[in-house]
């Protein structure tokens, strides 16, 4: 419990340190967590994870005043001191793989409570994704490691320092012989500097880098094609035609936030005359990006190499100067040749204005070929830029393999692991457990006492990035300082501090280490001034590198393909993918992410063996059936989930589940698929066999409950109903009949007449929202942002299975097409939150008048008046109301409470809740505007357009959500509502929703038959439920 040691120089904390050292207290903290963890073995209690008692009471008492002592600079407001109730915003950055996301973090009285993207950062541009949003909960995870452990016994940092000092002279003497470091990949100047220092100090030492999910194949492919590795940065906004091969670039690939932003920018339509890009998708899984594609070809991942080779041939045939000879393909891939031809034609017609991207799952050969094709199409430097690696530690599986070999040969006797969890996530053929046991010394720095920590000699608690100093580089080289939002909660240290200790044998402060790196960069002159500016802005201006145009070396590609021929085998393949919830397992203990419905399957709290409907039928399995996957002599029992639209004979399994030592939330959630993953085939491979086992496994899905949608009656009805709920059309249809949607809207307004005089709502602010269905990529960032902003509880798998998830905004996803041929289905997303109907059905039926309309058109929920009849829920046609069936927040760990938004009430059991249009943000702005007017810093006291931003709107990477005053003709939301694609869902009920949607438009190639687009014809104005 040295967490609260005297380093901060405050007497107050020192005295608590004494308390923390008392035997009773130690026993309390030590006993607390294993006990909590054991509760999670019972799935019923998982729902109550927030109820379990968490961090120690003493820590909770400290939580009020943990601002870091070093100077950090507020981003927007710069107060003399913290003003209670007024949040401060600080810029920082979240390191992730070989890149980083710039963040702006909202702080309330020194406690970070909400994360947004930093508009100035090139990898977030103000948007965010679910992982970024969920970091608040990750920071306050009560299961984070709180103490140094030596062989499982609690120690102090000083004990570790002493232990290292014993080893240190030996390693200094033998230049680090026998010493090895295993790190995760990073892009950090300070880490890079320290690594260089480390290598200078210990030239004989080994440095290996391993992460289970990386862009290694991409870097390798570029290296093959150009002789050097670069990081690509795509400009989807500049591409008219995009081909994605196995790349879920809007959700799971690197740089997904800006990818999504750019891709949607290329298809944002204000009028029917605007240009729109076209996305072709070739993939084995059905991904979120595939869902927004205009054309989608489902193809096994192992056939995609052959597809790219065939595309190269076809482009060549169509006159594109592809400098690749006939690529030898062993075997035949089966796909629609017409599709390929049309695609090639489309690409060939857009030289320099098209883009081919390949996913990290594909082989280096595919990435090299894709580079060659992009070169031939003139895209390099146009729609894709390449940046040299700076301060980046590239992931290299080979370095990890070598390390294990050296450990096996006794060449390494001391291993320091800076983060990571190789015991859990190393390929199954690499026995990390045995390696650790054979080492003399193993030291593991980790945020949690995870699977690896349990086997290591020393476990060191690692800081969360929100509580430690650091620095990062974005993919384009832009530098940011990671500034802490709070002093370390659990007395942990960061990787740079530990690395510095290893090098010098002395404790170093992260703050000093980072400043030492930045001193030469910013110059000694005016350093403080520049430093403050970097902290304030979150980025160092003009630090982006100049992109290079790497030359293509086709000879090298040819040689590589000679050695690594493209082989197409038939048979069942297994595909591994990083989970959109837990990523590689690192976020397994994050309840928000675990409970986030997957964009595609809508599953929560589990992974499953995903397969197409056809494959499932062939195997004779259904949702929730047990199957045994056997592959290369390894077996894993998993439940099946049918994912219509996947490639046949392809089984996809998410990584990052089945953790044994994640914490109270993540333990034993799902199935550990790393057990099937070998270093020969990290991403996909043939040779899987699937055997049906008896019995079923219960899964918690938020949409297709218990496979009901497979029932014919329902499936047919859904297809009939969808065109009324989600208006969708093709671009050419839109151009020919631009007003078709508008006419339906006008028709609905005409028939929906009230018998009485409605309130007019034409004064003051009238809040409204528009959601552009054409811009939604289903990434779920809004859902987590809302959860964070509005203190929405996590309810657990059992409750989700019962249909009691609490999300205020959900992403509905529907399959459109012929229910008889589910695998040909297209997919549409529709975010749904409270529509704030002017004529709200919920308001009329509440006997307690607990839900009312205010003057500004908000459908407000008065929690104090709510007695919980749930009549409003019944009468809500959108079913967006959420009821507290239990006291979901009863015993939220104190530490988690720190991350809650103090501006939003926490709801008690028996009370209804729902989206408020972020009423707290509206009122915060209203007060701020009034104060500014009173202080004379503002000419009027009107809230200007764009001053109130809802949490979902702010998080959305594609700006699909627009919110504002619909009574202001100039506001963006009013202008969006004037677009002729604007429609109100269920408007015929005369409920007058304030949230409207912009119809979805797809841009299919006229040469190809569009797959199952619902008919949108002229007489559709009578569509809807009325005649």
């Amino acid at each position: 419990m040295s967490s609260i040691d005297g380093k901060n120089g405050k007497q107050y904390w020192r005295s608590l340190d004494q308390l923390a050292d008392s035997p009773e207290f130690r026993q309390f903290t030590e006993r607390e967590f294993p006990e909590g963890a054991s509760e999670m073995t019972d799935p019923v209690t998982r729902r109550t994870f927030l109820k379990l008692m968490g961090a120690s009471a003493a820590l909770a008492g400290l939580t009020g005043c943990r601002r870091p002592v070093e100077k950090i600079i507020p981003y927007v407001v710069q107060p003399e001191e913290v003003i209670p109730g007024i949040p401060n915003y600080y810029a920082t950055a979240m390191p992730f793989g070989t890149g980083a996301y710039g963040l702006v973090v909202e702080n309330h009285e020194g406690r970070p409570t909400k994360i947004e993207g930093n508009p100035k950062h090139p990898s977030s541009l103000g948007g965010s994704n679910a992982f970024m949003q969920a970091q608040i909960l990750g920071l306050y995870d009560p299961d984070r490691s709180q103490r140094v452990l030596h062989k499982g016994v609690s120690k102090k940092w000083s004990d570790f320092t002493a232990a290292w000092r014993e080893l240190y002279p030996k390693f200094v003497e033998n230049q680090g012989k026998g010493l090895a470091i295993l790190s995760e990949s990073f892009a950090s100047p300070t880490m890079a500097r320290l690594k260089a220092e480390f290598e200078a100090m210990f030239p004989q030492a080994v440095w290996a880098t391993y992460e289970p999910v990386t862009d290694e194949t991409l870097f390798e492919g570029i290296e093959i094609a150009t002789g050097q590795a670069y990081q690509p940065r795509y400009h989807f906004d500049k591409a008219d035609v995009v081909l994605s091969v196995d790349a879920d670039f809007t959700l799971m690939e690197s740089e997904n936030v800006v990818n999504a932003r750019g891709f949607i920018a290329g298809r944002r339509l204000k009028t029917e005359h605007d240009p729109m890009n076209r996305l072709y998708m070739v993939e084995s899984m059905y991904t979120a990006t595939g869902a927004v594609a205009d054309h989608r070809l489902r193809l096994q991942s192992s056939q995609i190499g052959a597809f790219v080779a065939a595309l190269a041939q076809e482009l060549q045939a169509q006159g594109v100067p592809v400098s690749l000879d006939a690529i030898p393909v062993d075997g035949t891939a089966h796909f629609d040749k017409k599709w390929l031809e049309a695609l090639a034609k489309d690409l060939a017609h857009a030289p320099g204005k098209c883009l081919i991207v390949a996913g990290r799952r594909q082989s280096p050969a595919v990435h090299a070929m894709v580079f060659a094709l992009n070169t031939a199409l003139g895209n390099i430097g146009q729609t894709v830029d390449y940046y040299p690696f700076q301060d980046v530690e590239r992931p290299r599986l080979s370095s990890f393999t070598d390390l294990l070999a050296k450990i096996g040969n006794q060449d390494v006797n001391t291993l320091v692991m800076l983060g990571g969890n190789p015991v859990y996530d190393a390929p199954a053929d690499m026995d990390m457990t045995r390696a650790l046991k054979s080492l003399q010394h193993s030291i593991h720095l980790s945020s949690h006492v995870n699977e690896t920590s349990k086997l290591a000699e020393w476990h060191l608690p690692q800081t969360h990035f929100l509580e430690a100093w650091g620095d990062v580089r974005a993919v384009d080289g832009t530098l940011s300082v990671v500034q802490p939002m709070i002093a370390p909660l659990f007395g942990a240290k960061s990787a740079i501090e530990v690395l510095s200790l290893l090098i010098t044998g002395k404790d170093g402060r992260g703050y000093d280490l980072v400043r030492a790196t930045w001193l030469p960069r910013l110059g000694e002159l005016d350093f403080e001034q520049h430093w403050r500016k970097v902290l304030h802005e979150g980025v160092l201006e003009n630090s982006a590198a100049t992109p290079v145009v790497p030359g293509l070396n086709s000879e090298s590609i040819r040689a590589y393909l000679q050695d690594h021929p493209i082989v197409v085998k038939s048979g069942m393949e297994i595909v591994f993918y990083a989970s959109p919830a837990t990523f590689d397992g690192r976020f397994a203990n994050n309840g928000w992410l675990q409970e986030l419905p997957d964009s595609m399957t809508k599953l929560t709290w589990d992974n499953a063996a995903l397969m197409s409907a056809t494959t499932a039928k062939e195997l004779g399995v259904e949702n929730e059936n047990w199957v045994e996957l056997s592959y290369r002599g390894k077996r894993l029992k998993m439940p099946v989930w049918v994912m219509p639209g996947m490639a046949d004979k392809s089984v996809a399994v998410a990584l990052g589940y089945g953790r044994e030592a994640a914490g109270r939330v993540g333990d034993r959630v799902g199935f550990n698929t790393y057990r099937l993953r070998t270093s020969q085939a990290l991403h996909f491979d043939q040779g899987l066999s699937v055997t049906k086992l008896p019995g079923t496994y219960e899964m918690a899905c938020t949409q297709d409950h218990h496979g009901m949608d497979t029932e014919k009656l329902a499936a047919d009805q859904i297809q009939k109903r969808l065109p009324m709920l989600i208006r969708e059309m093709t671009l050419s249809d839109y151009q020919h009949h631009p007003d078709q949607i508008k006419r339906i809207k006008e028709h609905d307004r005409q028939i929906a007449k009230s018998l009485w005089k409605e309130p007019s709502y034409d004064e003051g602010y009238q809040w409204g929202m528009v959601i552009d269905l054409n811009a939604c990529v289903g990434c779920n960032a809004c859902t987590i942002a809302c959860q964070s902003e509005n203190n929405i509880p996590v309810v657990g798998k059992t409750e989700v299975r019962r249909g009691r998830e609490m999300h205020w905004i959900r992403i509905d996803r529907y399959f459109t097409g012929n229910p008889e041929k589910p695998d040909d289905a297209e997919m549409v997303y529709q975010p749904v939150a409270c529509h704030h109907c002017e004529n709200a059905p919920c308001e009329q039926v509440c006997p307690f008048a607990a839900t009312m309309h205010d003057k500004e058109g908000l459908n407000v929920m008065v929690y104090n008046r709510c007695v919980g009849t749930r009549y409003c829920l019944d009468n809500c046609p959108y079913k967006v109301r959420r009821f507290n069936f239990f006291n979901y927040t009863k015993a939220t760990p104190e530490i988690v409470k720190m991350g809650m938004n103090p501006d939003v009430t926490v709801r008690f059991r028996g009370v209804m809740e729902k989206c408020t249009y972020c009423t707290q943000r509206i009122n915060y702005t209203r007060i701020k505007v009034k104060n500014e007017f009173r202080n004379g810093t503002r000419p009027d006291q009107h809230i200007h357009d764009g001053e109130v931003v809802s949490a979902c709107q702010q998080a959305c990477p594609t700006q699909a959500i627009t919110f504002g005053n619909i009574n202001d003709p100039q506001s963006q939301v009013t202008q969006m509502k004037a677009i002729n694609r604007d429609y109100e869902m269920l408007a015929e009920l005369n409920i007058k929703p304030r949230t409207s949607y912009l119809a979805k438009v797809r841009n299919p190639n006229p040469e190809l038959e569009p797959v199952a687009v619902p008919p949108t014809t002229d007489d559709d104005h009578s569509g809807g439920s009325h005649h």
Partner: protein, 460 residues
């Protein structure tokens, strides 16, 4: 007056058989209260009160843990609790109908069954009233439903909400039914007081008989009061279930939003109420040997009413389907097709079989007069009417407008125990009633005996 005269003057069989004297009536009915408690009664109340304990346990756990212990979920904000509420309220309709409407229509055959039918009404309404009270999230604030002046809430409840109307409608119905029942009891209580052999009976019956002496003037006032209360109750019989039906009809959910609901619900309520009177009547009649008082004629008349109301609900089922189709509204159409052929088809066809097919037996005189047939039929109708409410409440909610929110509602064990528990409560109250109060209105039965009208002034 002998049997031959009776045969001549009454086309139908006499209302009361065995030709008892006034004294015989008093003896017979009072003996049920004054005699030794039959051992069967102890067994029965032991059983039923254990079920009450089950109810108390279930409700206690509900209050402790929250509504989550029930099967409620997102689209199904209402579940078994509301189904049970409507079911019990429906059952509570027969009593007042028999007492009030049949009284106003001068249906003298009602006299043998009105007392226990009214009692049954009260107990059913008690069971019904339990559900809306415990099904709210914060039961400790339930009194906010009443428009009492308070600064705390700073405003009135929402008078536009059908749940508020419900509170008034059911509350009024219960109060008036209680009064009506009690007023009807007064002459009989006086009889019991006069016959009392123990002190405690003398005092208690004495208090509740309100000094009744059977004088001419008292009878005159009494009968006027009774007539007025009957007049007051009559619209309530129609209004209560009409208002209960607005809980659904006023909403916008397909399958609920239907103008046929008020008459359809009233017919259904009478239907189910009579079925319950029948079930209990047959048992009581058998156990206490009241065959002469509750005769086949009474039972047959009730069967005729069930045949009529059964066909009314059958018509409503058909009409709903027709209108759903005729409206052209896709949501409405699907709501009904889904009822019959969706995942809850079994509930729908249980309802149709029990409520529409089973009463058709009563077209045949022989079946209509067969005790075993009508007993079984009445139980089926009770089941069918529960399913009707289940179909309305559950299927409509489980698949409403947006397919994304569709789900399949499943009750939990606590839904089941709470429902069974209310049967325990109902039976316990009923058993206490038959043991301590006259099951049959002695004074009224005496009034329809032939000797009460020696000059045949009042033949019907």
């Amino acid at each position: 007056m002998d049997a031959v005269t009776a045969e001549k003057t009454h086309v139908d069989a006499p209302l009361i058989q065995g030709n008892p004297t006034f004294h015989d009536v008093s003896e017979k009915i009072s003996s049920l209260i004054e005699g030794k408690t039959p051992p069967l009664w102890f067994i029965a109340i032991g059983l039923s009160s254990s079920i009450v304990l089950l109810l108390l346990g279930s409700v206690g756990y509900l209050l402790w843990e929250g509504l989550g212990i029930w099967g409620l979920q997102n689209p199904n904000g209402w579940g078994w609790a509301i189904v049970n509420f409507v079911f019990w309220v429906g059952i509570g309709h027969a009593g007042t109908l028999i007492s009030a409407i049949l009284f106003l229509l001068r249906q003298k055959w009602r006299t043998s069954i009105n007392r226990f039918a009214e009692a049954m009404t009260l107990f059913a309404v008690i069971c019904a009233g339990l559900f809306p009270a415990i099904h709210v999230g914060r039961i400790w604030l339930i009194y906010w439903i009443f428009p009492y002046p308070t600064q705390y809430l700073s405003m009135w409840p929402n008078f536009r909400s059908p749940l508020l109307w419900d509170a008034f409608a059911v509350g009024t119905y219960f109060t008036v039914s209680c009064l009506f029942w009690y007023v009807g009891l007064i002459p009989d209580l006086a009889t019991l007081r006069d016959r009392a052999t123990t002190k405690i009976r003398k005092v208690l019956f004495g208090i509740f008989a309100l000094g009744w002496r059977g004088g001419n003037k008292q009878w005159k006032h009494y009968e006027l009061a009774y007539l007025l209360l009957a007049g007051l109750s009559t619209p309530l019989v129609l209004s209560v279930h009409s208002i209960v039906s607005t809980d659904f009809a006023v909403s916008i959910i397909p399958g609920w939003h239907t103008t046929i609901f008020p008459p359809y619900f009233v017919a259904g309520a009478i239907f189910s109420g009579f079925a319950m009177v029948m079930t209990l009547g047959i048992i009581t009649r058998k156990i206490f040997g009241l065959e002469d008082y509750i005769t086949i004629r009474h039972l047959e008349n009730m069967n005729k009413i069930m045949l009529l109301t059964g066909m009314m609900v059958g018509y409503a089922y058909g009409c709903e389907f027709f209108i759903a189709w005729y409206s052209g509204n896709e949501f409405e159409r699907f709501a009904f097709i889904n009822r019959a052929f969706g995942p809850y088809w079994w509930a729908y066809w249980s309802m149709i079989s029990c409520n529409v097919l089973v009463p058709q037996l009563f077209w045949f005189k022989k079946l209509r007069r067969s005790i075993p047939v009508m007993f079984v039929a009445s139980i089926f109708i009770n089941i069918g009417m529960w399913f009707e409410r289940f179909v309305i409440v559950i299927t409509s909610l489980s698949r409403d407008f947006l397919p994304s929110s569709w789900d399949y509602y499943r009750p939990t064990i606590f839904d089941v125990t709470t429902f069974i528990g209310t049967f325990g409560l109902f039976l316990t109250l009923f058993l206490l009633f038959v043991r301590f109060l006259p099951v049959i209105a002695m004074a009224e039965v005496k009034g329809v005996l032939p000797q009460a009208d020696p000059h045949h002034h009042d033949t019907h």
